[in-house]
């Protein structure tokens, strides 16, 4: 016993160090959790005030189509229908993901299966460059190139969901492509070898084996792209026209949750309905990003590659 005790001191300094390191990482983790929880609490508590303090009915908010915060209708109900923005957000998100999916999967197949060398040398840097471009630059290009293009193509002013979709398509392309590349790279080599060994052509291997095996990863890539599109504010705001009306076509001005948020937050007074209803929009965004997160986790769990 005595001997063991003699050896203890050196051990215990090491153990102290270990404990110290553990404590630091634990504190860091707790801090992050605390920040996330307090943001959640703050946004949701503000957002719910629309319904608790200002007596707006939930139905009026989610299904109403008149957005004139600060004004009331003849019955005295506040005009805070958020349906135009909710529709706008979902439409541009889904459409841009729909456009980006085939392009990014095609690019990923090229980079991993067809010509890895050229892919690494040319496509990879190009995509990394796309990631690095700030969203205000995308918006600016959208305003000066995409909007006039849409105007010449279909008439009208050019502002609207079509322009928003095109800008978002380019913006989420790098996210979806690089994640699709990762997914394809994660397909074990022996899957391909087995396919070739059985006489499968390259196309058959890609289509029947690699893409099938990478499907969960590809879906995750698309959902991540959608999450980015849903939360993008600045670039969309510059090209969508920001008219809080239910869009009757893709080329008439519409609005998204984010565009209305960024446009109005500086002009409202904290604690008023005009301000709280913006927090309600922010709550929708927050909840949707949680949903996107849960969906990607669910996909990951369901379809992890076995073997």
């Amino acid at each position: 016993m005595e001997q063991i005790k003699d050896t203890q001191p050196t051990r215990s300094t090491k153990r102290n160090q270990e404990r110290f390191g553990k404590t630091i990482s634990l504190i860091a983790t707790l801090l992050i959790v605390l920040v996330v929880l307090s943001i959640l609490f703050f946004v949701l508590s503000r957002g719910l005030r629309t319904f608790t303090q200002h007596d707006v009915s939930v139905l009026d908010f989610f299904a109403g189509t008149e957005w004139r915060p600060g004004e009331t209708d003849d019955a005295g109900n506040a005009l805070v229908g958020a349906l135009p923005m909710i529709v706008g957000s979902f439409v541009v998100t889904l459409l841009s993901a729909l456009l980006a999916t085939p392009v990014s999967i095609g690019a990923a197949v090229f980079m991993t299966e067809v010509s890895p060398k050229a892919g690494k040398k040319i496509l990879q840097p190009a995509i990394e460059l796309l990631v690095g471009i700030p969203s205000v630059v995308y918006g600016f290009i959208g305003l000066t190139v995409v909007v006039p293009f849409v105007r010449q193509l279909v008439g009208g002013t050019g502002f609207g969901m079509l322009a928003g979709t095109l800008v978002l398509f380019v913006m989420i392309l790098p996210t979806t492509t690089s994640m699709a590349v990762d997914a394809l790279n994660a397909v074990p080599r022996h899957y391909r070898e087995a396919s070739f060994a059985m006489g499968g052509t390259r196309w058959q291997t890609i289509y029947r084996v690699v893409l099938r095996a990478a499907m969960p990863g590809l879906l995750t890539a698309i959902v991540f792209g959608m999450a980015r599109a849903f939360g993008e504010a600045l670039a969309v705001q510059m090209v969508i026209g920001n008219a809080p009306v239910l869009p009757d076509s893709f080329t008439t001005p519409a609005s998204t949750l984010t565009s209305i948020l960024t446009m109005n937050m500086g002009n409202t007074v904290f604690g008023t309905l005009e301000n709280d209803v913006l927090w309600s929009l922010a709550s929708i965004l927050l909840v949707m990003s949680l949903v996107f997160n849960i969906v990607t986790r669910w996909i990951g769990k369901k379809g992890a590659i076995k073997g």
């Binding site: 004139r68 002013t157 050019g158 920001n242 008219a243 001005p253 002009n267």
Partner: protein, 289 residues
């Protein structure tokens, strides 16, 4: 070697202490924060820089955020100065009684259209009807057969509030249409989209857009000072109660002759001292001379 190092360090520290203590009593650093209207930001920033240059160690932090932010921050006492293009009384939620208003400048606002529009003068009634959506084609006001595209600033923007309160008659309401957040974006969209009409403050006007005169009156500073050009607003600096110390000093500086006569006109605003009329929070005009 080691001793040398320690000695060096001590010398360095000592010289640092001497240097800092030499600075200490001479310059007492002081700063205040002014928050609010983005239309006023360039003005307050330029005045603040000039003030800091003349008064060593005094700093004016200027932030944007919009008139609503400026008013709510000053009402909450979170900042020293709240910048706003509109009267605090116009925002119902703000308790204006505790705020002290300092009018520092005036800015005119003009309707702007795409350069290809054949219209250069419009009546006040027609202008209002364009923005309420009653007039939808340029041919109805003497221009070519082209659909009118109305572009608004965000609801709650000071420029929009001023435009609507001076142009609209009682009961008229803006149509729901495109909105943009900043004057710069409005200008670039108007310059590039055929048929568009919007409005911006004088300092933002350039050759890329065409201004409209109203009832034959041109949008010019000399017409604003007499209220012949009726779309204008004060630039307010609000303080919570009577200003004190640096805040008082800075506001007096902004109202002083060098700033009013040089800086403010250079930035495109109209000095408050030149105004021949006054406007109250309800929009009533009073002749002063």
């Amino acid at each position: 070697m080691k001793r040398m190092n320690v000695l060096n360090k001590m010398l360095f520290l000592l010289s640092g202490i001497i240097f800092l203590s030499a600075c200490g009593p001479v310059v007492e650093e002081e700063s205040i924060t002014a928050v609010g209207s983005s239309a006023m930001q360039p003005l307050v920033e330029a005045a603040g820089e000039q003030y800091s240059g003349e008064n060593f160690g005094k700093f004016i932090n200027v932030q944007g955020g919009g008139s609503g932010t400026g008013l709510s921050q000053i009402a909450a006492g979170a900042v020293e100065i709240g910048n706003s293009d509109i009267f605090a009384e116009e925002k119902e939620e703000i308790d204006a009684s505790q705020l002290k208003d300092h009018l520092v400048a005036v800015v005119g606002i003009t309707p702007i259209v795409h350069p290809d529009i054949d219209v250069s003068d419009v009546s006040k009634e027609d202008l209002a009807k364009i923005f309420t959506g009653e007039i939808t084609n340029w041919s109805e006001v003497g221009g070519q057969d082209l659909e009118i595209v109305v572009l608004n600033r965000a609801s709650g923007s000071g420029t929009r509030a001023t435009f609507e309160s001076t142009v609209f008659e009682e009961g008229q309401e803006a149509m729901v249409t495109q909105e943009q957040e900043s004057s710069g974006t409005v200008r670039s969209i108007v310059s590039s989209t055929p048929g568009t009409i919007s409005y911006i403050a004088f300092p933002y006007v350039d050759d890329s857009v065409k201004v409209l005169s109203i009832n034959g009156v041109e949008p010019a500073d000399e017409n604003v000072v007499t209220d012949d050009w009726f779309i204008w607003s004060y630039q307010h600096m609000y303080t919570n109660g009577e200003p004190e110390g640096l805040t008082k000093d800075f506001i007096e500086y902004v109202l002083s002759e060098p700033v009013q006569e040089n800086l403010i006109p250079r930035l495109g605003y109209i000095p408050i001292t030149q105004m021949e009329v006054q406007k109250d929070a309800e929009g009533n005009i009073i002749e002063t001379e």
